[in-house]
């Protein structure tokens, strides 16, 4: 790229007409799903069923069926919770933060990423719920008039902050997603007939595309983006407080909030890349979700990967430099103790793998992107596993030192959460436009007006 030359990259290939945009994005919803969709859906639904059965087994027997012990009270369950909350962050980053920064490349991928956020937060919410052991009493976490005093919840507990953070995040994400969908549901309404038309019409709220409505609509979206931006930063900050406000070596760390937020964006982008590579292939959306979109996401992955790597190094330095022997022991134990395999898996997947994206060829290769993104997902799951389990398994009291091994039940529930995630996503691509019609048309119009200086 020569200095000073304005390089305009095409975000939508082949200059389609507006009605071509409508037809091509709507067609996956209007044709019968093929064997690929059914195969994926049945697999996801079966895995989800397995998860539901194992959760039922856990609830009826007690969480003693998990591998937790007296020393390691948090294992797979909380790891999965933090992992899934993190996955959701990329969706809000793409839909809200990139909107505020007027990044046009977000338009084709924002809808899918927002959907992913909602499904990921849904998956996340299951885990604290089942970790309670008696999920039918979960409503106790909310302050409501009760017969126990009435005594209210402890607002000074980070676990309660989580309740508010996660439920607000889910609600606002859902609201943002739905508001974004209204004009597109109107497009679907005007294309469909029969009962599908009735449902789309009901959900499109009588949208007529008037300029006054559009003006307020755009304002509402910018305001929501302005609200969602500090919200998304707060959510993983508050999740990190679950650890940072405790006095466990390895958890009691001031670096946690920014470290968790960067890690969340990192893992979320990895999941967006994984999902969209498959989605655009299966739905034939190569014109809208292009190599240039993936190139930009790979750059985000490289950047956030290095932030995460920097955080790992900082943690080690502080552990050495602080002179606190417990802190130092925890980090030595993390890298060279019984869970060293998990630590080095994390470092390899999160720090080394993204380095491949220094090369433009790697950023534009679907295969490299897919493999690297999957490895980052694995690495980020292990990051949370490391923080939680390796900090707990070596207690202050050597007599209670132990080793935590998950049971098949826990592994099955983790698998089941992936089943839920993919089931939701597959249903979403069947019934709602996975690429926003109106945003793509706006981008297309801007692209036509911009002179193509250097190509």
């Amino acid at each position: 790229m020569s200095a000073g030359a304005e390089r305009v990259e095409e975000l939508i290939l082949g200059n389609p007409t507006f009605s071509q945009v409508t037809n091509e994005i709507a067609s996956p919803m209007e044709r019968r799903p093929g064997p690929a969709w059914w195969g994926a859906f049945l697999t996801a639904a079966s895995v989800l069923t397995l998860g539901v059965v194992l959760i039922g087994y856990t609830m009826s027997t007690g969480i003693g069926v998990w591998g937790l012990n007296r020393t390691v009270g948090w294992g797979y369950d909380i790891t999965n919770f933090v992992f899934w909350v993190g996955i959701g962050h990329a969706g809000t980053l793409i839909s809200a933060i990139l909107l505020l920064f007027r990044q046009r490349w977000r338009t084709s991928i924002a809808r899918a990423a927002e959907g992913m956020t909602i499904f990921a937060v849904l998956c996340a919410a299951i885990f604290p719920l089942i970790h309670m052991g008696r999920p039918w009493l979960a409503f106790w976490v909310f302050p409501y008039p009760n017969t126990r005093g009435p005594i209210s919840v402890n607002f000074r507990s980070p676990l309660l902050w989580d309740v508010f953070a996660i439920s607000t995040y889910f609600t606002v994400s859902l609201l943002f997603w739905y508001v974004g969908l209204i004009p597109d549901l109107a497009t679907m309404r005007d294309r469909s007939t029969g009962w599908r038309r009735r449902i789309y019409a009901f959900l499109a709220l009588g949208w007529d595309g008037g300029t006054r409505t559009w003006q307020r609509y755009e304002k509402a979206c910018v305001l929501l983006a302005g609200l969602a931006t500090p919200l998304v930063v707060s959510v993983h900050t508050i999740v990190s407080f679950d650890f940072a406000t405790s006095v466990i070596p390895g958890w009691h760390t001031t670096i946690f909030p920014p470290y968790f937020v960067a890690g969340a964006v990192f893992s979320g982008f990895a999941m967006v890349i994984t999902l969209l590579l498959v989605t655009r292939k299966v739905l034939g959306l190569e014109r809208y979700i292009t190599a240039s979109h993936f190139e930009k996401m790979a750059r985000v992955l490289l950047t956030t990967g290095m932030i995460v790597g920097f955080a790992y190094a900082t943690e080690l330095c502080i552990a050495l430099y602080s002179g606190n022997r417990y802190e130092r022991f925890t980090f030595e134990n993390r890298a060279f103790g019984p869970y060293a395999w998990a630590y080095w898996t994390m470092v390899a997947c999160n720090v080394l793998v993204p380095q491949v994206f220094w090369w433009a060829r790697a950023r534009r290769s679907a295969l490299v992107l897919f493999v690297a993104a999957c490895l980052v997902n694995v690495g980020m799951w292990f990051e949370r596993f490391n923080i939680i389990v390796t900090s707990l398994h070596r207690d202050y009291l050597p007599s209670s030192w132990s080793y935590y091994t998950p049971t098949l039940v826990e592994m099955g529930i983790l698998l089941g959460s992936f089943g839920l995630f993919f089931t939701c996503f597959l249903l979403f691509v069947r019934f709602a436009p996975v690429v926003a019609f109106h945003e793509v048309k706006l981008t297309l119009a801007e692209q036509r007006e911009t002179p193509h200086a250097v190509r």
Partner: protein, 190 residues
């Protein structure tokens, strides 16, 4: 939708003659709105498949004050959250936890922050939907929408005959110059 930017008042429920000019190009629709308004016509609305930037200015619409609803919602959320936490912990059932004062303000920040955002988001979306009369409907076609094309690839300029001084002949003449792909004249209950 009664609003200050609609200049001529008409009794609700009266039948009005309407003219629609459909374009297949946003810049032509923008040019048409400017030409019509320059010629003294009142353009009622322009229905478009996406938010055509500059269209609100071409129509002479004032800036929206939706941000005030967001601010009000946020302030309410913050007030409710801080107030409720203070009331439960310091007034209704004071509990000493970890030796902290009943009004441990820093510990109340996360919950208050979240509720500020939550209330502000609901206020924004609620106000937007209510003011634009957007609500779930059984009717499969909104009566205010000039044809299904406006959610696909049509940019439709709507002009309503509101008074006796309206010049339909001049409008037709202008329409020929502006080159719409389709012009329709009809009636609508306003």
């Amino acid at each position: 939708m009664p609003s200050a930017d609609r200049a001529v008042a008409s009794p609700p429920g009266s039948r009005r003659r309407i003219h629609t000019l459909a374009f297949d190009d946003p810049s032509r629709a923008l040019a048409a709105v400017r030409a019509l308004r320059a010629d003294g016509f009142e353009v009622d609305d322009v229905h478009t498949p996406y938010a055509v930037h500059g269209m609100d200015e071409a129509l002479g619409l004032p800036e929206t004050r939706l941000g005030l609803a967001t601010l009000a919602g946020g302030l309410l959320g913050a007030g409710v959250a801080f107030g409720f936490q203070f009331w439960t912990h310091a007034v209704d059932w004071p509990l000493v936890i970890g030796g902290k004062s009943p009004l441990a303000l820093p510990a109340q920040v996360p919950v208050s922050f979240e509720l500020t955002i939550l209330f502000a988001a609901f206020a924004t979306v609620g106000t937007f939907l209510a003011r634009r009369r957007l609500f779930p409907r059984i009717a499969v076609t909104p009566p205010s929408q000039p044809g299904p094309g406006v959610t696909d690839d049509r940019f439709v300029v709507l002009v309503v005959e509101r008074d006796a001084g309206f010049r339909p002949a001049r409008l037709r003449e202008l329409a020929r110059e502006l080159g719409p792909v389709e012009t329709v004249e009809g009636w609508r209950v306003m």
